[in-house]
Assembly symmetry: C2
């Protein structure tokens, strides 16, 4: 049996690391801050990716691929964007190694291969993409451009954590170009809605949507929309962002289009992304002290069948039942696997399926076959359902959406329970210091207040929900009329 | 209408570039040697990727993800591999930029951010992966490991061409670990067979399989199997390679496993890959002077419907027929699109669908609707089939595999026609200099002969097919008994 998982109430952060490690999701690599995503973790990411990709394509987006490197002169073209990423970027300066004449078998950077212009490993691709769009856009007929890219990016983070913050991560980045401001704003919102729908329906992770305050905006954006999820420890996690970039990049790269009357105008832009960080959000939303819990729609294996063979005589019967059940379940489209590993105890297999968060499990042994009484074990609530063999498949099939919906409901309840509205700063501090979740409060809209609250309590404005009414509300810090009612929280 | 495509017999190389550009597949970027893969090109690559991914998964392989960077000390660990790639690798030396105090708004590399150890942008991932496998492998129970990764890699090529040879390219790289030499050899062969099957069945590009001569092997491999395709200009293109790595990487990274008796042994390895180079092979296998020709199984759009509206009165009828046909075809699973772009002439649309290689086309106009007589146009042979409306869908559906098989047959004939066996060096030189395709000839097995032939004729040994009988064959160059009968050709 693997290492025991540290309980959440003992050390939440260790609990997270234990799950990532024991479920076989990812591990640290030999490169500072970079992770290895292991097959089981990657299979979950592939399911997320495939669903998001469908949603993007259904709304008219196409995939493409742009270079990994950004020449320094392009990188610095949009000043705010450059400023935002300059302090954490990997820089390629040479293109060749040569033998070290002092040490046999060792290599050194060949000083003769110094690049005339350094290349930045993309931390995000606005610069290289807008330089490309300049070639693609002449007239209104070339718009809109609705492109997405699945790629790796690098941000030289100093304090990294598997999935949540790594120097290299995988993500998708959408980059769209529009003829009007309205259309670009609509796109920004459309994508944030897709993110929200994906988080709730597939990750079983309801989120709060809103816009970011100026200080939390993407470098180079006029407005940043986001989805914010609440983790089990009461901290917020920013799970996706959708940026309205105005004409900033069009101006930086001189991208204009001729409108119907022939007048030249700068193009309007959006960009938006979610990353392997979603894996961290998924883990921390549902899992318990026994390991990972996965919503069935994102589980690489939705049900595992474990044949339990104790004697030669019954082995044939058991294996036949196992195979038949496997085939019958497979036909329904449910992702099913048999755990037929030899020399591994039942106890180990049971524990393994729990640590890995496989939503359902059936053990088929002599007793089950004889009595025609089988148990389906549900990982998310540890409940069991008994059934005759003939009904197993249909119960398994219908349980997929039942578990999914139960998990959504549970998450919604948790989100509601841990969202509090306050009207005094004392109440506010109390809730924030006990890490009680989202705190709704009035804010006067000044960055001074935002900064003061942050430095006094470590809470940040997670987002400004569109539908919050600020009428008659006062700022909890300054007592001035609130410009917005917003969501505060500590965060990842 | 776009730029005209240069005919093959005028300038083959320009023809290729014209197709890549006019069909909207890819273009050069602002980064030396790196390309932008445009949405249409990327959609073809996605279809290839998805099919290959299925084939890998069906044979028990799983996807994972390893870091983009390789620390120099790992990179140099396997000496031959390091030597093979040292001269063409991008090196990250710093992790931060700072403001240039001399020039406002400009950035310079911050000298204080110099890395203690340089990072190589992966040209291939054996080193970082085998360093990881060392942590994963203790006993025979941990084997085999069958992992694949879809990733970008960088090789600092000096002379680049879109898809065929680019500094950054996309690929899949499989890396497997085995307990025995036999099992690793079997894997090497299994994968080469998958590549060959994929090339023939999906790309409609029959290939010749074989092993590479020592001089053409992957750096660090004991044996390299490959698939070689023949382009229309008579040059060969290496389309995929599968390497038996022996215990070289296990030794370089000290990866041992305990066998059943507890004895420690080095692990056996394979690695294998195909890349976006396949796009170049696909283009050059089938296309003609009118543009791209795609085998239907890899066509993002398999049929395009163009409504032709000349008057208000008939417009409703035509659009209804178009929609009905679209829905009816879509139901069969065929990838269908309507070209309903406004203000674009029929001529432009027809040409566009031909340049892009869309396998089938139907124009729906007043005349067609009135007469109930429709034409399906086939891009690959410019033929047309007439049909009543009620039969269109079933003809379209059944044509997918018919076109695919026709294209396979045509390619097979071409391959056969351009494969010649010779017994004299004069004949050999004649065929090679006229770029007549694959030339089968005896080779004495020495690198001296291989090198001499290469420098005299520019032909290289493309592969040593397993099933070629060398009994009684003499080396065309030295006249000595041939060690192998091999395939020579000029190549990409």
């Amino acid at each position: 049996m693997g290492k025991k998982i540290t309980p959440r109430n003992v050390d939440y952060s260790k609990w997270y690391n234990d799950i990532v490690s024991e479920a076989g999701l990812a591990e640290s690599s030999d490169v500072r801050g970079c992770m290895v995503i292991k097959p089981y973790g990657f299979a979950i990411w592939e399911l997320m990716k495939s669903q998001l990709d469908n949603m993007f394509k259904e709304t008219g987006h196409e995939n493409a691929y742009f270079p990994l490197f950004v020449p320094k002169s392009l990188f610095e073209a949009e000043e705010k964007n450059a400023e935002g990423f300059a302090k954490e970027c990997a820089v390629v300066t040479h293109y060749r190694l040569k033998n070290d004449s002092d040490k046999k078998g060792k290599l050194i950077v060949d000083p003769d291969s110094k690049l005339e212009e350094e290349l930045i490993v993309r931390p995000t691709s606005e610069a290289i993409i807008w330089k490309t769009y300049k070639r693609w856009i002449q007239s209104y007929r070339d718009l809109p451009i609705l492109i997405n890219q699945w790629a790796n990016v690098v941000r030289w983070e100093m304090r990294t954590r598997l999935f949540l913050r790594t120097a290299e991560f995988l993500w998708q980045e959408g980059h769209t170009a529009h003829a009007t401001k309205e259309e670009a704003l609509k796109e920004t919102k459309l994508i944030n809605n897709i993110y929200s729908e994906f988080a709730e329906k597939y990750m079983a992770m309801p989120v709060i949507q809103g816009s970011k305050s100026e200080s939390e905006r993407f470098a180079g954006a006029e407005e940043t929309l986001c989805i914010e999820a609440l983790m089990q420890d009461g901290k917020a996690l920013q799970a996706g962002t959708s940026h309205f970039l105005g004409q900033n990049f069009a101006k930086a790269f001189d991208v204009k289009f001729a409108d119907k009357s022939g007048k030249l105008e700068y193009v309007w832009a959006t960009s938006w992304g979610v990353s392997t960080r979603l894996m961290g959000a998924l883990i921390m939303s549902h899992s318990d002290d026994s390991g990972l819990i996965l919503p069935p729609l994102l589980a690489p294996t939705q049900i595992i069948i474990i044949p339990l063979i104790k004697s030669e005589e019954s082995s044939k019967k058991i294996l036949k039942k196992t195979d038949d059940l496997f085939n019958s379940i497979k036909k329904t489209g449910v992702r099913v696997k048999i755990d037929n590993r030899e020399n591994i105890s039942l106890g180990f297999k049971l524990n393994d399926s729990e640590v890995k968060g496989i939503p359902m499990r059936i053990v088929i042994g002599e007793k089950e076959v004889e009595k025609d009484e089988f148990e389906i074990f549900f990982r998310y609530n540890f409940e069991k359902v008994s059934s005759k063999y003939s009904e197993l498949t249909s119960i398994v099939e219908s349980s997929i959406m039942k578990i999914q919906e139960d998990m959504i409901l549970k998450s919604k309840k948790r989100l509601k329970k841990h969202t509090h509205e306050v009207s005094s700063y004392d109440e506010f501090k109390e809730l924030i210091s006990s890490q009680s979740g989202f705190v709704i409060a009035g804010w006067d809209g000044t960055s001074e207040t935002e900064e003061a609250i942050k430095s006094e309590t470590k809470a940040t404005i997670r987002c400004i929900p569109e539908d919050f009414d600020n009428k008659g509300v006062k700022c909890i810090y300054s007592g001035e009329p609130a410009r917005h009612k917003v969501i505060f929280s500590k965060s990842y």
